[in-house]
Assembly symmetry: C2
Homo-oligomer: 207 residues x 2
DNA sequence: ATGAAACTAGACCAGTTGGTCCGGTAATTG
DNA sequence: CAATTACCGGACCAACTGGTCTAGTTTCAT
C-alpha cells in the first residue's frame, strides 16, 4: 500500500522479487498445495521466518505471485490497436502470446492452475481487470467487422480460441514434448507454431 | 490383473467405481496434493482403511483415476475415420470434444492438472497409447490432403489446436464464466461454441 | 459346517505442513 | 545519542498427512 517511492529498488524490494520468483517457480510446477513454504524459502535463499516476514501467509504470497502474473498476462492483449489492420494486429498478438508461452511458461502454468482451482483468488480480478480490457477489444473487433476488414465472428469466442491455442504451448508443453519431442525453445518449432496458429485464425477472418 | 470375469459387476467392482468417482471429483478440483485421502474416503462413503484396501496408496489411486480418464479422452480421437470427409469428421470430432468438456469437465481438468505437473504418471502412457493413435490420425489427415479434400496443414499442430480450443471450455470454464457469465450447460452457449470452433477449423482446411 | 480368503473399522504413528514466539541485530529518525 | 522501527533466525507447535497394525466380520467354495 503505502510503499515509500524510491528510484532505486531498495534491498527489501529486491528480496521480495527473489521470493516471488522462487514462489512462481515452485507453485507453477507443483501447484500451491504441492509446494511448501520451506521449499520456497530454500529456493529463494531466505529463512522461512524471513519469508513470512515479507508475506504473512502462504495465501498472501500466492496472491502476490498471481497478481504479478495477471499483469504480465494482460500486456499483449492491451496492445491490440484498432489503428492496425486486424490481420496485422492478430498476427502480432499471436506471436506475442506464443513468445510469452516460451519465455514465461511458468507464469502461464500458474495462471492455468489458478483457473483449474476455480479461480478462488483471481476470480474477482478477472472481472475487475480483465473484463474491461476484453470488452474494449471486443469493440475493436466489432469495428473491424463493421468496416469490412474482417469476417464476422463472435469476439469473445474468438479471444477464447486465441488464448486456448497460444497458451496450450506452455500449459501442455509436457504433452507436446511427449508426442512431438519438440520444444518452443527450438526456433524452428517456435516459428512453425506461430505460422500454424496465425494461418488458422487469419483464414477464419478473411473477409 | 487376474480379476475374475463376471457378467454382473461385483460389489467390490462397484465400490471401486464409487471410490474412483470420488477421487476424480476431488483431485480435479484441488489437484492431487490438495485433496486428502480422508476427504476422498468421506466423499466415497468408505473408511480410509477400506479405501487403502482397494488402492494401496494415493499414487496408485491417482494413477487408476488417470488411466480411466485417458481412456475416455481417447474415444473421440479414435473415431476419426478416413472414410468420412474431413469436414464431416472434424465437425463431429469438435462436437464430441466439446460435449466431453461439458459432461466430463472434471476428467478434462484432471488431465490438465497432470500435464501441468509435467505428466509424471501419464508421460509413458502418452507415448504408448496416445502417440500411436495420433500417428494413425495424422496419416488420415495426410490422405485427405493428398486427395485434395482439405488444404495442407501440419496434422500435429492441427490436432494440438483442436485439443486446445475444445478442452479450453472445460479447463478454463471458471474464466469463461467470469467473463461471459455463461456455461456449456446453457444449450445456446454450447451450440454457439460448437459453431464457432467448427467454423474456425473448417475455414482453415477449405481446399 | 468349516476353513480360507475377501473385506472392514478404529486406534495409532511418524513425517510434514503453515505458522508463532522469542530473542536479537541493523538501520532510521528524533 | 537514544529509541523506535525494520529486519532476521532458530526453536517450537498444533494440525494434518499418507499409511500401518490389529482385530475382527462377512462371503463362499467345498
Amino acid at each position: 500500500m503505502a510503499t515509500p517511492l524510491r528510484k532505486t529498488p531498495s534491498k527489501s524490494d529486491r528480496k521480495r522479487e527473489v521470493i516471488l520468483a522462487a514462489a512462481l517457480e515452485l507453485f507453477s510446477r507443483s501447484g500451491v498445495d504441492g509446494a511448501s513454504l520451506d521449499r520456497v524459502a530454500e529456493r529463494a535463499d531466505v529463512s522461512k521466518t524471513n519469508l513470512i516476514y515479507y508475506y504473512p501467509s502462504k495465501d498472501a504470497l500466492y496472491a502476490a505471485v498471481l497478481n504479478n502474473v495477471l499483469s504480465l498476462w494482460l500486456v499483449p492483449l492491451e496492445a491490440i490497436d484498432r489503428a492496425n489492420s486486424p490481420q496485422e494486429a492478430i498476427a502480432t498478438y499471436i506471436r506475442q502470446k506464443i513468445t510469452f508461452s516460451r519465455d514465461h511458461a511458468d507464469a502461464s502454468r500458474l495462471f492455468c492452475f489458478e483457473i483449474l482451482y476455480g479461480a478462488p483468488v483471481l476470480g474477482g480480478r478477472l472481472r475487475d481487470r480483465l473484463q474491461p480490457v476484453m470488452d474494449e477489444k471486443a469493440a475493436v473487433f466489432a469495428h473491424w467487422i463493421a468496416s469490412g476488414q474482417m469476417a464476422a465472428v463472435d469476439p469473445y469466442q474468438f479471444l477464447y480460441s486465441l488464448w486456448a491455442t497460444t497458451q496450450h504451448f506452455a500449459d501442455f508443453a509436457s504433452q507436446i514434448e511427449a508426442l512431438s519431442r519438440r520444444t518452443l525453445d527450438d526456433p524452428a518449432f517456435f516459428e512453425e507454431s506461430v505460422a500454424h496458429v496465425t494461418a488458422l485464425f487469419l483464414a477464419r477472418i478473411r473477409p
